[in-house]
């Protein structure tokens, strides 16, 4: 009997701990409205040109490792992710192919041939435009404060569960676009990407997604 009560208490605590409400945020009652607005904005978004700041946090390091770069996106599946500092690294996704350029070396990968790259590709593209909220592989919990919606996404698919514990998104209440994207790994180390100086629907420079 005692063991059952203990198990019950642990299970209840577990639920609260796993989906703990973030500080300063309250749970959203009408999630359908957010989904509708985010999808509306996503459907009207054809291109994104934004700078980003990426912070990698490792439990054993006091300092975060910060890198900066530029991200270009064009509907439906063109992406250019260029790291400028402290290292140079270019990743282009275009027509089912992935190009990685690191200094003078280039690697081309057919996205179809790699399940892992395909899953990550879907995740990145869907995160930028907010349609990650519609992905059946993730279950979403919504919170809000005056400025933002905070969304916690929990992988339901075994493939993603091997790499990712949760994904957290901050969505601006001004324009319903993603401002911050945080991936928390199984070890609780995380990567936070903040999008700054975002320009929506401006023509992408010619050659932005070319492999040359």
């Amino acid at each position: 009997m005692q063991k059952s009560i203990f198990t019950f208490v642990i299970a209840i605590l577990g639920v609260f701990l796993v989906h703990a409400q973030p500080e300063g945020f309250t749970e959203v009652a009408d999630t359908a409205y957010i989904l509708q607005k985010v999808n509306e904005v996503a459907s009207q978004t054809n291109t994104i040109n934004t700078e980003f700041v990426q912070e990698k946090n490792l439990a054993f390091l006091y300092e975060k490792i910060t890198s900066k770069g530029i991200l270009l996106y064009q509907k439906p599946e063109k992406l250019r992710l260029e790291y400028i500092s402290p290292f140079s690294y270019l990743l282009i996704m275009n027509d089912g192919e992935l190009l990685i350029r690191n200094d003078d070396k280039e690697i081309k990968i057919a996205l179809e041939s790699s399940t892992m790259f395909n899953e990550i590709n879907d995740l990145i593209i869907n995160s930028i435009q907010g349609s990650i909220l519609n992905m059946p592989e993730l279950s979403a919990f919504f919170y809000e404060n005056d400025e933002s919606f905070f969304v916690q996404l929990w992988p339901q698919q075994e493939g993603l569960k091997k790499y990712i514990k949760t994904i957290e998104l901050y969505i601006s209440k001004k324009d319903y676009t993603v401002t911050d994207f945080k991936v928390i790994e199984l070890s609780d180390d995380y990567t936070l990407i903040k999008f700054v100086n975002k320009i929506i629907n401006e023509e992408i420079p010619v050659g932005g997604f070319n492999f040359q």
Binding site: Q54, K56, L58, F60, L61, E63, I65, T66, S67, L81, Y83, P86, F87, Y89, L91, I100, N102, K105, I107, M116, I120, I124, K162, Y163, V183, E185, L186, S187, D189, T191, I193
Partner: protein, 219 residues
């Protein structure tokens, strides 16, 4: 028949052992007393942490990632973490000063016994605590060329640390001719460890190149 196989095996081992020593002799090295020859460790007591760009070539495939090496004085160990440029962690290992290795995290696609053993053994060579107790033999080329080699005691195999007029090892070699034997080339030592580290392997198409990234926040 079984006896014959044992004889062949023992004979081959002796040949390999003699071969690795005679190779040093052929290069002009002679055994000397160890007292006057000391290396600074690859990552010395003043070392804190360094960010490296990593390039791993296995067969025809090449992958790139980032790597951090950090000294953890409170745990008497060094941490090694590989993660992708976009931040996804690939592996994390802890190398203790007493020679033990703890695998803290291994990404699913790397989580194979052979890969873990090879990576542990390779990187362990970088974190070997070089003390007079751990030196088994010392060799130098007569005539004060400044070149010397330290042969370290190992649990399973010995390793050789080569220098040329520096107090830091420039080449590290595992002894013997077995499959996957490791050679490490190290260059451009600064206060924070070598700028370049290159692992290569005999009869195994695996190369790991680490190049220091200038990260002003840490320098």
């Amino acid at each position: 028949m079984k006896r014959f196989l044992w004889v062949v095996l023992i004979f081959s081992s002796i040949v390999l052992l003699l071969g690795s020593c005679s190779s040093l002799h052929r290069q002009g090295y002679r055994k000397v007393a160890s007292e006057n020859y000391q290396f600074h460790p690859v990552f010395g007591p003043d070392f804190d942490k360094t960010l490296y760009a990593a390039e791993i070539t296995f067969g025809k495939n090449t992958f790139t990632s980032l790597a951090i090496i950090k000294q953890m004085p409170e745990y008497k160990s060094h941490r090694l973490v590989f993660f992708s440029e976009a931040g996804l962690q690939l592996m994390e290992m802890e190398f203790l000063d007493d020679g033990k290795v703890n695998v803290e995290y291994m990404s699913d696609f790397l989580n194979r016994k052979g890969i873990i053993n090879k990576l542990s053994a390779d990187f362990k060579l970088l974190f070997t605590n070089i003390t007079t107790h751990s030196i088994y033999k010392t060799y130098t080329i007569p005539g004060d060329t400044g070149k010397f080699v330290l042969q370290m005691k190992g649990e399973k195999s010995a390793s050789f640390y080569f220098s040329s007029n520096t107090k830091y090892p420039l080449t590290i070699r595992e002894r013997g001719c077995y499959y996957g034997k490791t050679t490490i080339l190290l260059s451009q030592y600064e206060n924070n460890g070598p700028d370049e580290i290159l692992f290569s392997h005999k009869m195994l198409k695996l190369k790991i190149a680490l190049t220091k990234i200038n990260y002003p926040e840490w320098n």
